[in-house]
Symmetry: C2
Subunit: 532 residues, 2 copies
């Protein structure tokens, strides 16, 4: 019994083995290699499908909004399909009903702005091209059988060429690209159609109404079922990019100075943080399209009707230039790790201070944009950043003596030398990586100040909320504004590095003066710059 079972098992095991080298006499056995190949292909395909599904699942988990968008499209499409399927007047796919389905498929985009943009483009393009097409059709039909195809052909050629070319114009491309395409489509269809003009009017009416149904369904669902606003996306990109820059800057400078103290820190995490600026470098295309779509959107959340979306683009450009500097910095620091050790120690605290104050300013900006609130600490943070820069300058000024002492009197630094052979390098060469670091940190700070200017302008145009401190200060100033009208007008610009803990002027005046302070402080920094 057992043997029989074993034999059976053996037999069963042998049968599916297509790789046996024994001669295969029976006919059906010839198919085995093919079956194996088939099995292999099926398994390969299955693996690829599984891989794809895994990736899809990961994407869905990380960005559930995209899953919701898919479901929204599904709902809109089933609604419009079934609506037309169950209409008694329905006359098959060839009829006008299909335009509603087509409109939903083509017009429903990820964010509200894009959906609105495409909807309006579609309706306008169809209407304009339809009217023009009916006109041309009428003219052609009046001018005799011989001339008719010539007039039609030439008009289609001219308008299609012109409209296609116009799609390359930046102003058209940004807003009316889809409208131009729909214009070409509708004009060709209408002008060349074999219908009489009076029938065309009825058809145009039907077509426009089905398109209107489709677009309004899309607009309603995209605006009221968990809406995704292009403006929100742009807003998030900008303040997240600020945080990413802060992360990268911290990671980059931190790694450089930590490296020689405690060996390599937890590399995976820190290198991931340091690389965060790379996203910022590549965000231009997304930012521009989001800004274009955001202009079509109605007021929502903290954004009014004429929210200054173009300011976001300017801020984005400055952030990218900042990211460029961080890229250069990380490249230079990676390849030049062996700065003279005592110089590094000497400048370490001052450099780290500049870095951390720059990061504080970036995070302050990010928070200000995120909450659309004027930051009360922003100007003091900028002052502290500039102060830290001056401290770094002072640290550099105190360097030469050490530098000169080290080389001509080898006795003094003999201990260092015996510890570390790196110190043998000529002092100037050892200084270079640190000089680069200082220079690039200064440049990064300057670009962060440009970002501050951009955010201040955005706050002004978008009317950001007043911060708690500002509100308190406003109350104070209204209670005693007869005693001193603008108490810090003449003094503050002269002391750009002082910390203004409480800003006592009113909201707008504060902005004006702080802008002035900043201008003066930049000028002063340039005048006092350690390169003069």
């Amino acid at each position: 019994m057992e043997k029989q079972v074993l034999g059976g098992l053996e037999w069963r095991i042998n049968v599916p083995d297509g790789t046996s080298k024994e001669p295969v006499p029976e006919c059906s056995y010839y198919l085995k290699p093919r079956l194996a190949l088939k099995g292999f292909l099926v398994v390969g395909l299955m693996a690829r499908v599984l891989n794809f599904l895994e990736k899809a699942w990961a994407l869905g988990v990380s960005e559930p909004k995209k899953v919701i968008h898919g479901m929204k499209v599904g709902i809109a499409l089933s609604l419009v399909s079934l609506f037309y399927y169950m209409r008694p007047l329905y006359d098959g796919v060839g009829g006008n009903a299909m335009w509603a389905v087509m409109t939903v498929v083509v017009v429903f985009e990820y964010n509200v702005g894009a959906t609105l943009c495409k909807s309006l483009n579609r309706v306008t393009g169809t209407f304009l091209a339809g009217s023009l097409g009916i006109g041309v059709h009428w003219v052609a039909s009046q001018s005799g059988e011989k001339l008719e195809p010539i007039i039609l052909g030439i008009s289609v050629f001219i308008l299609a060429s012109a409209a296609t070319f116009s799609r390359f114009m930046p102003s058209v491309k940004a807003r009316f690209d889809y409208g131009a395409m729909i214009f070409i489509l509708t004009f060709s269809l209408v002008s060349v159609s074999g219908y009489r003009v009076d029938k065309l009017f009825g058809m145009a009416h039907q077509r426009l109404s089905t398109i209107a149904i489709g677009t309004s369904l899309c607009i309603i669902i995209s605006m009221f079922v968990s809406p995704i606003w292009a403006g929100d996306e742009l807003h998030q990109i900008i303040h997240r990019n600020m945080e990413k820059l802060a992360e990268s800057l911290e990671g980059c400078v931190g790694t450089y100075f930590k490296d020689n103290q405690s060996g390599h820190p937890s590399e995976g995490d820190s290198s991931k943080k340091t690389q965060a600026y790379k996203c910022v470098l590549n965000s231009k295309a997304t930012e521009e399209s989001m800004a274009n779509f955001a202009m079509w959107e109605p007021p929502h959340g903290p954004f009014n009707f004429r929210h200054p979306w173009k300011e976001y683009l300017k801020i984005g450009a400055v952030l990218r230039s900042c990211a460029c500097c961080i890229d250069a910095l990380s490249g230079c620091l990676d390849s030049e790790k062996q700065a003279t050790e005592h110089l590094k120690v000497h400048l370490r605290d001052a450099s780290m201070a500049v870095c951390s104050h720059s990061c504080i300013v970036l995070r302050e900006l990010s928070m200000s944009v995120k909450t659309t609130t004027n930051s009360s600490k922003l100007h003091s943070s900028v002052g502290e950043m500039n102060f830290a820069l001056q401290e770094l300058q002072n640290a550099l000024k105190s360097l030469p003596t050490q530098l000169i002492l080290q080389q001509p009197f080898p006795d003094e630094s003999s201990e260092n030398k015996s510890n570390n052979e790196k110190e043998c390098a000529p002092p100037v060469l050892g200084l270079i990586p640190l000089a680069t670091l200082v220079s690039l940190l200064t440049e990064i700070a300057a670009r962060i100040e440009e970002t501050v200017d951009g955010v201040v302008k955005l706050a002004e145009l978008a009317e950001f909320k007043a911060s708690n401190e500002e509100k308190r200060a406003q109350n104070q100033s209204t209670s005693n504004n007869q005693s001193s009208d603008h108490p810090s007008c003449d003094t503050e610009p002269r002391r750009p590095f002082q910390r203004p803990e409480f800003i006592s002027t009113s909201h707008l005046r504060d902005r004006y003066f702080s802008g002035f302070c900043k201008l003066v402080s930049v000028e002063e920094r340039e005048r006092h710059s350690f390169f003069s």
Copy 2:
């Protein structure tokens, strides 16, 4: 007589003046402000239209390819329209004929790759969704009147949601985005249609054939009437970007060193050149879409069927990182113009040499990519660039004595001091901008070497033509290959800065060794780096 004329003139001048403050008693005069407003609006509109036309004209003159594309679309559309218009079987816009027109409008893109991609997506999507739709339609129609709309609605919902979500997957988005949209559209139209299944088959056949006619017309015209290849565009972007980087680098460093010699040079021209790198920073999106489209294109010009388009993306990324460094450099140099003058003079020649040799390498790379030819001078140019870097290092090494001499013995440099007050700055501070320059030039050179690696790999994969020198060398080596098999194997890697005027090994071996040389030379550069 004269008075009368004058009066007449006065009267005429007064009439169109809508801003007069006199009381206006007559009825027709009430219309004047309105007419003036209308006239103003018309003039404003005319001005805008004229402005638009001017811009369009400028675009057409600068890029005639775009005008030609417009005309190609016009030709395709008139052809397909008239073909259907004149067919005796034609049954109006509602029929299947319109699908051919629509296909031409939607599928005809600027370059061949995009047109092919959309055409294949459209045909495949329609076919797949049509088959699936007919299947679902049949199942639904078999399951009774009550269940039918439910099955249809659910199937449309699930498939539309899944297909919409799949469009967010990077792998689908890059290649099958349009196909997924057409899939949703066709599936909804077919599955929900009120036709019987046997009629659907006939319709599907007709639909597919009209789409095939439209797509083949598009493909033929776009491929044979002055074709615009995505591959060509990508190729041009890459080698032009190399030239732009060379221009910017030259402009940037040149301006810095020229500035104090002969005042400001012709600023408009040089600043335009210096800004050229900004185009490079923003080219990522274009490069990626061109690479995606180029993969669909058949062999054309110097590009074979499996041309390594992805290598171009890698080279593009390195070029962008190079542009980042140039951006940081230009920022640093702009804000730090006052380096100590004699230091600047000391390092000027060496820095200019590194800059010009870097530019030579970039131009050599550009020419090599442009002509798809292996450059014979590339490796010697890289060697010269490295040599120039070492010279710069030597110039720096000879600095400390001067630097130290200047400060403690003021007598020696008293002449300089009296000439220029800038010299009063502590020597270390005066050194910083130059240190930054040297550091960033080194980083730029390192990134240019990465570009060289990328181009060498591209040349290997794309089988670039042999240069004249290589051909000559190949002939030589085949004539005397028994005397010495690989003469430079052991010696060359040790002398990376020597100029290999003629490369005597065979084509592939040369590449292998040069790669090895480069690896060693990079290592050596790092080992001998002046930061060690």
